[in-house]
């Protein structure tokens, strides 16, 4: 009986762990699949853009909310990019991602370049 319980608990935990890992991978997949391919050919790296955003929108919640709003409705007026950039590359198109996917992609973006983890 006890061995059965232990087996069930072990199975549940391994499934939960696997599910978590899968989710994390998916999150990164969204960011890698939907953000990097376009940006890697542009002269402004994603990290540079992160620092531009950070300089204007202090704080994690503000940063994420502003970025999400821009990605859903990109406009010249709300873009943080320099004028020369806009003239050359224009404003990006509206995102095709769902709200959930967008949140996950932005979370990955924030975690990847968070200055707190790099300052020493």
């Amino acid at each position: 009986m006890i061995s059965k319980i232990v087996f069930v608990v072990f199975l549940t935990l391994s499934l939960t762990g696997k599910e978590f890992e899968q989710k994390l991978e998916n999150k990164h997949n969204i960011y890698t699949q939907h953000c990097i391919p376009c940006h890697e050919h542009l002269p402004y790296s994603l990290e540079k853009i992160y620092m531009l955003y950070l300089k204007i929108f202090s704080g994690e919640l503000t940063f994420k909310a502003s970025l999400k709003a821009f990605l859903k409705e990109p406009m010249e007026e709300t873009s943080v990019m320099p004028d020369e950039w806009i003239e050359n590359f224009s404003v990006k198109e509206k995102t095709i991602l769902t709200d959930k996917e967008l949140d996950e992609a932005i979370d990955s973006y924030w975690e990847l370049y968070d200055v707190r983890n790099k300052l020493h």
């Binding site: 300089k55 202090s58 704080g59 994690e60």
Partner: protein
């Protein structure tokens, strides 16, 4: 006149003394409160001055740090080392007050004050217009220079003490000013008594001597009674004269102590007051053992006379007086009007009388008290209203003959 003045200084009653003490305590508290308030204002002004000096330095440090943060933001992530300075410590926080990086000694911060002191540290906060590294708040921290604090404290205490002394001198001056009318009235009363006393001596002596010399055997009964009344009246005045003389003249003379046989003295004084007691049909119950005491004869006579005289004066008609003498104490118990419990402590005050319907100046028990205090004897009073009063004097070891 100078003697009178010196005496008048001591004439303050305890109630007046306590009023004076209360006034002085109140005055002192008020002065200390005013000085504390002034000290607080002075401290605050000095603190503001210190803050304004420090603000200039801290603003420079903040400006320097912002430039460093700007450079770091520009060069990030090639450069990731947070800018540090040996002159100050700093921290950056984002708009959500979440820490980005800190070199502060204590992470607890106040976001509501631009400049503040805490635990020997001075902290200065500036808002960043451009959020370099996402920072909205920049904190600059330096160690507090405690010299200004000790200097201010020394100044406050030194000045405070000087002002307190000046105010104390003013206070004493005012007290003297307020007391002058009271002292003057006391001096006036004393001088009046003193002058009157001189004028009383000769006529009283003449009356008493002539009354004593009269031959009662050949006198008619009616006249004998009249003569007894004259004798009582003269003795009452004589008793008063003795008290006044003691108070105004004998009080300051040197004591002439000797062994006094108290039993003989009391018998003598009871006999002296017998006619006065008889006029109120007051009887004496004497229970006297042999006892001697080393004391000034005139002074102990004043004590006994005053206690007996009061016991007669405040007794009811047909009452009795019990006088007990033992080796180490003497007690007079009357069956008179008694005294209210709360007034017992006041009976030794000068010019205080138990009952305004009775005559006298209210000086008898004050004299008793001064003599008792001079010889360090112990006096105790117990009284029940409308039942009577008992006054007991205990002799201390050494003053009585132990043989």
């Amino acid at each position: 006149m100078s003697v009178s003045k010196n005496k008048a200084t001591n004439l303050l009653r305890s109630s007046e003394k306590s009023s004076l003490k209360r006034f002085l305590v109140l005055y002192f508290i008020l002065v200390v409160m005013i000085l504390s308030l002034l000290g607080t204002f002075y401290y605050q002004s000095k603190e503001k001055l210190m803050y304004s000096n420090q603000r200039t330095i801290l603003s420079d440090y903040a400006h320097e740090q912002i430039q460093e943060l700007r450079r770091l933001h520009r060069d990030f992530p090639q450069k990731t080392e947070y800018p540090r300075s040996p002159e100050f410590r700093s921290a950056i926080y984002d708009i959500e007050r979440s820490k980005i990086f800190s070199t502060l000694t204590n992470p607890v911060l106040r976001f509501d004050k631009e400049l503040y002191r805490k635990n020997n540290l001075i902290r200065f906060m500036v808002y960043l217009d451009d959020y370099y590294l996402g920072a909205k708040y920049l904190f600059i921290e330096i160690d507090e220079d405690k010299e200004w604090y000790s200097n201010v404290m020394i100044e406050i205490f030194t000045l405070g003490t000087i002002i307190l002394i000046v105010f104390a001198i003013f206070g004493l001056f005012f007290v003297n000013l307020f007391l002058r009318p009271m002292k003057n009235s006391m001096i006036l009363l004393d001088d009046f008594i003193k002058d009157t006393t001189h004028e009383l001596n000769t006529p009283i002596s003449a009356i008493l001597a002539n009354v004593e010399m009269m031959d009662l055997d050949i006198m008619a009964e009616k006249n004998r009674k009249k003569l007894a009344r004259i004798n009582i009246a003269a003795k009452t005045v004589s008793h008063l004269y003795q008290d006044l003389t003691y108070l105004t003249l004998d009080h300051n003379r040197k004591s002439n102590d000797e062994w006094i046989d108290l039993k003989t003295l009391i018998d003598d004084r009871v006999e002296y007051f017998a006619i006065l007691a008889g006029s109120k049909k007051v009887t004496f119950e004497l229970d006297l053992n042999y006892s001697t005491i080393f004391i000034d004869g005139i002074k102990i006579a004043r004590v006994i006379d005053n206690l007996i005289s009061n016991a007669i004066k405040y007794n009811k008609r047909g009452g009795n007086i019990e006088i007990t003498l033992r080796k180490d104490y003497f007690m007079v118990k009357d069956s008179g009007i008694g005294i209210e419990a709360e007034k017992v402590d006041d009976i030794f005050e000068r010019y205080t009388r138990f009952n305004s319907s009775e005559g006298g100046f209210g000086i008898g028990l004050n004299i008793v008290k001064s003599i008792i205090e001079e010889y360090s004897l112990k006096i105790s009073v117990s009284s029940i209203l409308r039942e009577g009063t008992t006054i007991r004097i205990d002799f201390l070891k050494g003053t009585v003959d132990d043989k």
